[in-house]
Amino acid sequence: MAFSEKLLQEILDKYPSKVQKNRKKHIFIKNGELESQQIEANTRTIPGIITNRGCAYAGCKGVVLGPIKDMVHIVHGPIGCSYYAWGTRRNKAHSEDPTDNYINYCISTDMQESDIVFGGEKKLTKVIDEVMEIFNPKAITLSATCPVGLIGDDMGAVAKVAEEKYGVQVLSFSCEGYKGVSQSAGHHIANNILMEKVIGTSDLEKAPSKFPINLLGEYNIGGDGWEVERILEDIGYYVVSVMTGDGSYDDIKNAHVAELNLVQCHRSINYIAEMLEKKYGTPWLKVNFIGIQATVETLRNMALYFDDEELIKNTEAVIARELARIEPVIDQYKKICEGKKAFCFVGGSRGHHFQNLFAELGIETLLAGYEFAHRDDYEGREVIPTIKTDADSKNIPHYMPEADEKRFKLKISPERLEELKAKIPLGEYKGMRFDMEDGSIIVDDLNHFETEEFIKILKPDIFTSGIKDKYVIQKMGIPSKQLHSYDYSGPYAGFNGAVQFAKDISMGFASPTWNFITPPWKDQPLLEGKVTEEGVA
């Protein structure tokens, strides 16, 4: 059924008045006739409202740093934070030298009560010593958890001493869980330091091959990054670095030599993209490898940017080859999916991107939202200057480097840049609202209460979200697919990913298991008889 402002108000009316006032600003129904529709985002979740959001530590260590495979990541804090970010995000990694890959390791200072009382710096120093002795890595990260900032441990000072002692980089991230209002704060903290301390620290001045690019905001969940790299390398691009899926410290140091930065997850990495442009003059392109048409369009946009005949030819050849291969397969699955309705609620960018895949399968997205996005992810980057800072966002450092005197170089002429900007999303992201249909619902920081209410009214056929609400939704008899971890499947990016996604989503609909929910005795009376004129026979 179509959703109306009246129905929305009925849901909101069930809230206590203060909550209602707040939540009202986080939800709107898309109306294309309006030039803009403002949403409130990246603000505090009200205590007690069951949210899917996590913390700054999760965004910093869990999302951005964790996937870098050849650094040892030490978590300074009690054991839990380190433990939960261990192998739970499916950021796959491969190393030619397996002794230089720490992806399956989880290292924590395991702070005890005495460390809280007397300070944990000495313990952290000792843990670094042991890590150097056992693993001898080329670099280390230190991530702070809540108590670290509260007790005033100076991780930066510990890191500095260790750097001098061992001659390797030891990066310190003040990503205490209480900072900001969600994981988003942690992304920013991680971005700042990777930019300030790692990117551009190698001696490399020129990429060893033509068409060098960085792939930013691709975390290689379920092998997504590998599929994207397969396609890009097939066409003739040279991938300098990926941030940060299957990421490598050595590669990230070289990121300055790329001639174009691709931004997949806008939310988590747009800071680095902007900083790279400022420091080295490298433009960034908003790409999307989720969805067949989105992938095709992205590849054509990239080719247009580099404007090389051979590259354009290769691009079209690869597109033609891949489409011929996968379209017949997808068509099979489309028959199962056509006409279905979806809710799509994911973290920062997938809530938008996966709507493409749904559309290609004939599935309409009725409701979408992000867990920790900012207004620009909904409304487009043009609103950035109008976003007000508040007490929470003010506390997150905003780093912006100066142009690198030696290495700053315009990759294309300003005229050409302007010309391209009219055609392709260079330095531009239009946000989720732009692509959504009129009448669809956009919700920021969707909570448990709203999840139940919207499901009752709109009765979606599938709900893509995360692990915490997966089984809530399935208990209602609705298939739910995790789009954070892909239900341990994948890849879902690129051409092969589209096929895998179509297969997995179809499986959700086609599974005979849903048919058994109602037991036979519920539909059949215990006593069977017929009513005669005299009564029951």
Binding site: P16, I50, C146, I467
Partner: protein, 462 residues
Amino acid sequence: MLDCTPKEIKERTSGGMINPAKTCQPIGAMYAALGIHGCLPHSHGSQGCCSYHRMHLTRHFRDPVMASTSSFTEGASVFGGGANLKTAIQNVFHLYKPEVIAVHTTCLTETIGDDVPSIIKTAEIPEGKLVIHTNTPSYVGSHVTGFSNMTKSMVSYLSASTVAEKKEQVNLIPGFVNPGDMREIKRLTESMGIEYLMFPDTSGVVDSPMTGEFEMYPEGGTTVAQLKDTGNSKVTIALGRFASSDAAELLTKKCRVPATVLKTPIGIKATDDFLMALRQSFTVEIPKELEIERGQLVDIMTDTHYHFHGKTVAIFGDPDIVAGVTEFVLSLGMKPIHVLTGTPGGTSNSLTGSFEDNIKAMMEGTGIEANIKSSGDLFTLHQWIKNQPVDLLIGTTYGKYIARAEDIPFVRMGFPILDRSVHSYLPVVGYRGALRVIEMISNALLDRADRDASDDDFELVM
């Protein structure tokens, strides 16, 4: 796999963990609180804690795990979380309508020293509703400690001695086990014809049936009335020293209910001990059906002893589970040569006892020289195994990396199991559970033997 782990063991003195075998208190408190009927666990701290705990519990049980959070910001960390908790309590009762909110703290709120009981006292709580709390500093103990603390708080908040003569009923504290285990412990008690109160009881909560409707508060869980009545029981049997003895001890002090603290009843000896304790406390004979179950178990143990005897095993996990499993594999004639828990080990003069001493005592007379460690990590366990290989590894999902690295058959047991399903529905406790453990161990060993056999040695009958 785990190629950065060297064989050579160098002593580590930092106190840091590499590949931990424990997590922090709050998740245990959250799990225990789910065992109260109509209860919404509440995490007083940053959002990330609540999110991580719900994520992990959901992955283990594959069922909804509902909990709310105080959603701390930097401001709340500076000025205290009183306002956050009070707002949360108000919103939770308005919106999610639980009978009980069970608040647990986090390292954040413990470090800043939020006085949770005082905050609760000034919170708006609707009539007939309850807010209880427990302190779960993440920098003390482990998830097992958190479970124990929340269970203890159920006693301190609710248990009351209100009758002159104690009732003919037993309090069963099952410890940090799966709902399948809790059901089995109840079934054993029922077949003895003994009235019982089990708390916490997550059966019917995190193994709820598919009905096409989501119930925020499923049918299971110990009711508040039952929790109050635990003070009137004749005796408490606490299963699992680390998870259950504190609550039992408090019941003795607060309501004069005598306690028997036993091992988690994994394996034949521990199950015998449990049934004998019930038998002695209530002067009832073990029913025929349980004697038959025991006989069937012994039958299988003797019939298949050659599959197990002399095989070496490494066991890790939570102390109560590891203690039970170690005792049982010894009963099967196996050799547990590496035994490790991540949880700090307890002291020998407490009800909990010392983990290391308890395991050492089991080894007495067996001639086995075992590595035994509490507060250990999986890096240590892996190095032990590199130096003294084993035929079998038993532990949580996290063991799969070591099992692959060293190519060892692997049996998943304990919490968490994130990569297999059904485990939380079926017991490992009791005689039936012991049969299941045997099946798991023998499948792992024999599948491996089949895999490794040459065509010439490949056998139909084993």
